[in-house]
């Protein structure tokens, strides 16, 4: 994992997604921040996991099918199916 740092993903974008949930009344600034940071970690993770498949195929370009493979193979990504 990278060093402790602030989010690079735009918080406004994350906030918009949070507000899209009709069950959510209000979210604290901190909550939006943690969500943004978690999403960054998620993107790092899924990219890394998908890249393993690209390497198996001796490719240096990550392709859609690498992601599909990672999503199918890894339990934590089941919610994406």
């Amino acid at each position: 994992p990278g060093p402790a740092r602030l989010a690079r993903l735009p918080l406004a974008r994350v906030k918009a997604l949070v507000k899209a949930d009709p069950d959510v009344a209000l979210a604290s600034q901190e909550a939006v921040f943690v969500l943004a940071r978690a999403t960054e970690l998620f993107v790092e993770t899924i990219a890394k996991d998908a890249f393993v498949y690209a390497q198996q195929g001796k490719r240096k370009t990550l392709q859609r099918k690498d992601l599909d493979n990672a999503i199918e193979a890894i339990d934590e990504f089941a919610f994406l199916e």
């Binding site: 994992p1 990278g2 402790a4 740092r5 602030l6 989010a7 994350v14 997604l17 949070v18 899209a20 949930d21 069950d23 959510v24 009344a25 209000l26 979210a27 604290s28 600034q29 901190e30 909550a31 921040f33 943690v34 969500l35 940071r37 978690a38 999403t39 970690l41 998620f42 993107v43 899924i46 990219a47 890394k48 998908a50 890249f51 690209a54 240096k60 370009t61 990550l62 392709q63 859609r64 690498d66 992601l67 999503i71 339990d75 934590e76 990504f77 919610f79 994406l80």
Partner: protein, 121 residues
Amino acid sequence: LPDGVNISKEARSAISRAASVFVLYATSCANNFAMKGKRKTLNAGDVLSAMEEMEFQRFMVPLKESLEVYRREQKGKKEARKDKDKKADSEEQDKSREEDNDDEDERMEEEEQNDEEEVDN
């Protein structure tokens, strides 16, 4: 990803969509924790609980560390604002009243700083 690695357009777009789904799912999960705690406001703790629930325990340590950094930064900003207000008070009264209003709007837009407070819709 290591240097020299490219990402196809389709892969990029898929990752972007996955990230959105992640946020939506995590939000819903976090909201369950907020409701369990009889709170109407999602707080950082709810999001952390959601990560555990979603089996992303490996995120916990880096998330908590980032949150610490964030809290320190916010505290610094708050103190800078307080100093600015103090300075404004010592200047013209009318001017400082206007500045106070701006600060209020800013606070409302940012929603809550304090996790314990609740605001009714």
